[in-house]
Subunit: 228 residues, 2 copies
């Protein structure tokens, strides 16, 4: 299970917690203002009201062992930069930091952030792209009739090869990838799952129970396929 | 050519203009503060320093004939809502408005915005999804070796059917869609192009010069394919 730390519960932080709460991951959030800390209490139990620039607190909360930490502090550049540096210093594998300006983004990169999110720039670029449809993927996602979807394989197809399932022919859908969870033993000796993603599957690959398919096709065909 | 109006040149508006400037579209921007209006003068010629809540000015600039108008005003809710309403009233086909809070987003929807962008929420949800990889598409885009790419068809394949080109077999690439520009006569009697997107192409579809292919495959295979 992934361990994710969210620092700051402004709009960005709150939305991250809301989206992550329903996923298989361990979530810890740190927020210094009590009222904001309370906004997500229905989603996660581990919300700590504290100043995240205190290294002792980060270590107490086990942040140095986390897979990912997300610094969502925008207005206070100093705090955002300081906390990013502390997180890298104590050994967090991946530190993602939110920037509110390109200068802020530059500095965060220089002090070691592994990835920057800059919502006002990223969303503007994504919207611009979709308006001029120079990106087929945006066209597929915004074209009225075509969609990309991930659907769990119906029992009707388990045990069959992709070509026997004849999905493209029977449903007009293209299977772009097959996702499967493979049980493994993790380092604590417990059963865990690793994800196998078979992209451009072969015609003779066999579909197994629990597999999910990434498909492209017309929306009504996808709906029919889902109903199986 | 698409006519796009951008209202407000804050960070979001500036980034939209920068992304759209290199595309085939007619761009007009309105910004009330002179200094901000000047930030994009190297990208587009039509920047007007004015208050966009003045309907006369919007009509003078031909906004009522535009395909899309994007309202990027965040802090001033009143202006953002008022301008959105005016734009729908004068007949803009698609009005996209930026929101800075869910309340703001609700009101904008109620006064007629066709689409809302809410960067702090949208980017948080997108990041959360990519962290737990429950979206195969994010996995494809972030998986080290696999990519989705759009590539102009090499002369070697023009005139061949998809199955003769044998791309999946020879290059290990899946052709998900073929994009083609089809010359048409537009309402002014001029030659224009309309884009045809052939998703899940048939094996016997013929590849023509100028077509571009949306493909999925391993990065090195894509690079080899590009070099043809
Ligand atoms: N040192 C700190 N420790 C913990 N939380 C902090 C610290 N500094 C700021 N925060 C919290 O981080 C949150 C986000 O910070 P801020 O409001 O500065 O950024 P923002 O970019 O305006 O946020 P958003 O757009 O996500 O609402 C706030 O709720 C704030 O209280
Ligand atoms: N009535 C108006 N007419 C034209 N421009 C305006 C008007 N009101 C605000 N603007 C401009 O719109 C831009 C964006 O507005 P504002 O700063 O309120 O939003 P923001 O969400 O903070 O923006 P961003 O995050 O994109 O920088 C500013 O440059 C501002 O000067």
């Amino acid at each position: 299970k992934k361990q994710i730390g969210v620092i700051g519960l402004g709009i960005f932080g709150q939305n991250m917690v809301r989206s992550l709460a329903s996923e298989k991951c361990e979530l810890v959030a740190i927020e210094k203002e009590e009222q904001k800390a309370n906004t997500v209490s229905e989603y996660i139990s581990k919300v700590v009201q504290a100043d995240a620039s205190d290294e002792k607190i980060l270590r107490q909360l086990d942040f140095h062992n986390f897979d990912v930490a997300v610094v969502t502090i925008g207005e206070n550049l100093e705090a955002s930069i300081l906390i990013t540096m502390i997180l890298k210093n104590i050994g967090v594998k991946k530190v993602i930091a939110k920037a509110n300006s390109s200068l802020h983004a530059d500095v965060l990169m220089k002090v070691g952030a592994d990835k920057i999110v800059f919502p006002e720039r990223d969303e503007a670029e994504k919207l611009a792209k979709s308006l001029v449809s120079s990106n087929i993927l945006d066209m597929i996602n915004f074209a009225d009739d075509y969609r990309m979807a991930e659907i769990v394989v119906s029992k009707k197809f388990t045990g069959k090869t992709l070509i026997d399932a004849d999905i493209r022919h029977k449903f007009g859908l293209s299977v772009v990838a097959i996702r499967r969870k493979i049980p493994i033993l993790n380092e604590d000796g417990e059963t865990d799952f690793k994800e196998d993603l078979n992209i451009n599957p072969m015609a003779d690959d066999v579909l197994e129970e629990g597999d999910s398919l990434l498909i492209i096709g017309e929306r009504n065909n996808i709906e029919k396929f889902k109903k199986l």
